[in-house]
Amino acid sequence: MSTASLTFAHAKYSLLETARVPIAVIGSLVFPALSLLFFVVPQRAVAENPEWATQAVISLSVFAVLANALFGFGLNIAQSREQPWDPYLRTLPAPGIARVLGHVFSTGLIGIAAIVPVVVLGALLTSAEASWWRLILGFVAIAASALPFVFIGISVGYSMPAKAAIAVVQVLMFGLAFGGGLFLPPAIFPDWLDAISRFLPSRDAREIVVWAVQGGDLAPWAWIGWFAWTVVTLALALLLFRRDEGRRFR
């Protein structure tokens, strides 16, 4: 069997499992949309400025993908490593990359589904605007820019038990979201915070998606940073995956 078809199979059955317990994904689906309703829509100065409103929608979309990737991978992997079904799957003749990518696609799809309500609410209730092809470009950019989050989530999942993963994922999620300018726009950051922010994958992701949707120039540090984070976190995820022997007890 080819790696591609095995990847597809792992993604399909993981989605099927998730879909049978829909409540599990509702949290990640509604949280970003609620944030938009409570924090962006009431601030008319932002909501009525097309440029700012669009950037706010983009930031919360990136946050949706970030949160979904960290929870979807970090927590799911840590939990499944504690259940005996996972060791069984590892005895099947599927190369490691097929299982990693299968997870990427299934959780990625849920992430995309979490963005849709943010975009729809943004279009209806704020002055955010984008032409249809810019919107599509934005989705492509968000999928690509989310890769480091996915690999960070996988690395967390394979390096610690579920109880520790919950805490680490939350710290990472809020740290990356604030530091990357997803809750507050980087324009109001002091210089020192802005400098740190540029080294975070969440800031890189935000800049790339803003560039895809609104046009303009993309600073080289953004895509170089994204590329570096993707390569390093992918290597780490693969290393931890290969080394994994299930949960360790001492």
Binding site: A9, Y13, Q83, Y88, T91, P93
Partner: protein
């Protein structure tokens, strides 16, 4: 010891190819040594029973062959290569623990999912019928009974038409009927060409299925022989009695071990209780409160272990 898995004949029984081998394998978990310098070849065509009490190292041994764990020292080969390379597991069949099946997936979906991994998987309805799951394909696995889950787990090992199947305690917790049904299915799969390694702490199960028996305890291989030979060593009977002249009874032939109990009676472990009692009566040694019963496997293992240490 490098063996090409494809060189095995179609029926899988005629050629004595090494499918999996461990050589001088030691595996430690921190301070605990789960396997201690174990060397073992699994050859095609056999049903190998891996017999030992809980914690003997059986599951660790299987997890090494499955590629789930690496040995601390020594080498493990599966179809001539590393079990950690996915391609070397194409002809390997394993079972998940029955409690591990993903509860929300349907029986048919679980079988389909596993089947995708193999080039020549058995069609789902066919394997389901073989293991008596034909009517349950639409049921979510969470709704199955213990016996049904167990049958599904074992069926998954055979979905990919494997040459080597590893079954870890496949019938633990099943009633007699369910156990026999499963044994029949495993035997049919073996007749169709699969080599089977089955772990158990039930002597009865090993007796019903295995041709070759490997007895393992404390991480070491104590016995590795044909079923008949091993049975004669581990199938002991307990003869309990009271007597003022115990020391004379100990010298009777065929007594493997003796143990006094708190009530003043003494239990003897013997291979042939009939012969022992005949000899006892002929000797004229006085005795009372005689009772005879089968020894458990754990008791038989103790006897084996003591022989080793002598």
């Amino acid at each position: 010891m490098s063996i090409d898995g494809t060189a095995v004949s179609i029926d899988g029984t005629a050629v004595n190819t090494v499918l999996a081998s461990l050589s001088h394998v030691t595996r430690r978990f921190g301070e605990v040594t789960a396997l201690d310098d174990v060397s073992l070849d699994i050859r095609s065509g056999q049903i190998v029973g891996l017999l030992g009490p809980n914690g003997a190292g059986k599951s660790t041994l299987l997890s090494l062959v499955q590629g789930l764990r690496r040995p601390t020292s020594g080498t493990v080969e599966l179809f001539g290569g590393s079990p950690q390379t996915a391609a070397n597991r194409r002809l390997l069949g394993c079972t998940p623990q029955a409690t591990a099946l993903p509860e929300t997936l349907r029986v048919g979906e679980v079988i389909d999912f596993v089947g995708v991994h193999f080039a020549n998987a058995v069609p789902t309805p066919e394997i389901a019928d073989e293991f008596g799951l034909g009517d349950l394909l639409r049921r979510q696995t969470g709704s199955l009974s213990g016996g049904q889950k167990r049958r599904l787990s074992v069926a998954l090992a055979f979905v990919g038409r494997p040459q080597l199947v590893l079954l870890d305690e496949p019938t633990t917790g099943l009633d007699v009927d369910a156990r026999r049904t499963l044994w029949d299915a495993i035997r049919r799969q073996h007749d169709a060409g699969a080599t089977v390694v089955i772990t158990s702490h039930y002597l009865e199960e090993i007796e019903a299925l295995a041709e070759r028996v490997v007895v393992i305890d404390g991480g070491r291989v104590l016995e590795d022989d044909s079923l008949g030979t091993v049975l004669s060593r581990v199938s002991l009977r307990q003869v309990t009695l009271r007597s003022p002249e115990i020391e004379k009874i100990v010298n009777l032939p065929g007594i493997a071990r003796q143990r006094p109990d708190a009530t003043g009676a003494t239990t003897f472990y013997v291979q042939d209780s009939d012969a022992m009692i005949t000899a006892l009566v002929r000797s004229g040694i006085p005795f009372s409160d005689l009772s005879v019963r089968g020894a458990t496997l754990e008791e038989a293992f103790l006897t084996l272990t003591e022989k080793e240490s002598v």
